[in-house]
Amino acid sequence: MTESDPDFDAPVRSGRSSDTLILQLGSWEGPLDLLLTLARSQKVDLSQISILALVDQYLDFIRDARALSLELAADYLVMAAWLAYLKSLLLLPKDPEAEPDPAELALKLQFQLQRLEAMRAAGQTLLARPQLGWDMFRRPNPEGLATDRRAVYAVDYYELLSAYGAIQARRATAIHVVRRRPVMALDEAIERLELLLGRSIDWTELARFLPADLADEAYARSVLASSFVAALELARQGKAVLSQGAAFGPILVKARAHG
């Protein structure tokens, strides 16, 4: 190997241009990237490229790749199909009613290529700029700025006074007055029921032993509850017998005959 021969290491298979492309198959980042590379090979400003020529370039590339049985990702084929469709639209006589407008589609493709090219160039320009940690440096161990946090307590005069008021109120002796409530005590109910029941041995509905004029509803409920418990108590003591035909049916009561 001599250094004077720069072509010594050049690839042997440089005969076909499509080969060169295919050898680089893995280096494209998707169909748009491939399209951009092909567009650049037209060696004109991207705003002046021939979309039809570009479409042909792409379709040729895909055909060659398939001829060589190279695996192509689906998105390359989708792009190929879309470009073939675009080409057919562009070649047809111009139809003002056509939807979508092929010229607009071509313009959009051109826009995307220009935009990708611009962003690619912008990325490289950014990387070429002075960078922190390589060109510029900050102080490695700054002392830092300290912030002492000081608590300021908020309490207003009203809070202070009402707190003291609350303490005094707590200290005040509380007198609890229990309001008298209309109830029939259990003892009273037992005594009353026992008396009314007498020595009757006929079944009588418990409700019939209750006072008839119970205007106060609270008192009526109390009387009912007390009388029921009184009936249970008398049954327990063996002085009465209870019977109920069905759930929620009337409760019958009679005195128990003493043997």
Binding site: N141, E143, D148, I167, Q168
Partner: protein, 192 residues
């Protein structure tokens, strides 16, 4: 100092010393700038040019470094105030101390009807409103607490006499319930 060579050297020295992790000896500095002859005069001139600034270039034990001017330390610390709400227990304790001072902790507990944690009184002292006020000359010599002038200032009171009495509190509706007849008014007589 005026010629281009010295300017370039001076700039390099500034950058090197600014970006240095630790103070640097002359030899270390020289390694960074390359062979440039005697650095010392340029370093000294640089130090002089920084002398009136907020950043100074100083030599300590043969090592050079930038540091902030010694008189500006107070700018490097700031205090930020955070407003905190005083707990209910603390407000009540403060009120009891204000109305009954000097007062011992057992007395505060008796008046409030609940135990008072040491932390509660600590908070009031940290706020600058309560201070220890000697010991009560009774068995156990318990510590007494009283309010501070800051307390009066915070509540805009000329003196503790300005605190409203129980009757005033009641008139203002600050007592939810009627205190019992037997309760002695805390602000009785000359003490308050």
């Amino acid at each position: 100092m005026a010629d281009a060579y010295d300017l370039a050297l001076t700039r390099a020295l500034e950058a090197i010393l600014f970006a240095a992790e630790t103070p640097m000896t002359l030899a270390e500095i020289a390694r960074h700038v390359g062979e440039r002859g005697d650095l010392l005069p340029t370093l000294r001139a640089l130090a002089e040019s920084y002398a009136p600034r907020g950043i100074n270039l100083v030599e300590r034990g043969g090592r050079w470094q930038f540091q902030t001017a010694p008189d500006l330390g107070h700018h490097l610390r700031t205090s930020r105030e955070t407003v905190k709400k005083l707990s209910r227990a603390a407000v009540e304790t403060l009120a009891v101390i204000a109305y009954h001072e000097p007062v011992t902790r057992p007395e505060i507990e008796e008046i409030r009807g609940v135990a008072v944690s040491g932390g509660t009184i600590d908070v009031l002292m940290a706020a600058g409103w309560v201070r220890p006020a000697g010991r009560r000359e009774t068995p156990g010599r318990p510590l007494q607490y009283a309010t501070t002038p800051e307390f009066l200032a915070h509540f805009n009171l000329a003196s503790r006499r300005d605190l409203p009495g129980i009757a005033d509190l009641k008139a203002a509706g600050l007592l939810d319930r009627e205190p019992s007849r037997e309760l002695p008014l805390p602000l009785g007589g000359g003490e308050a």
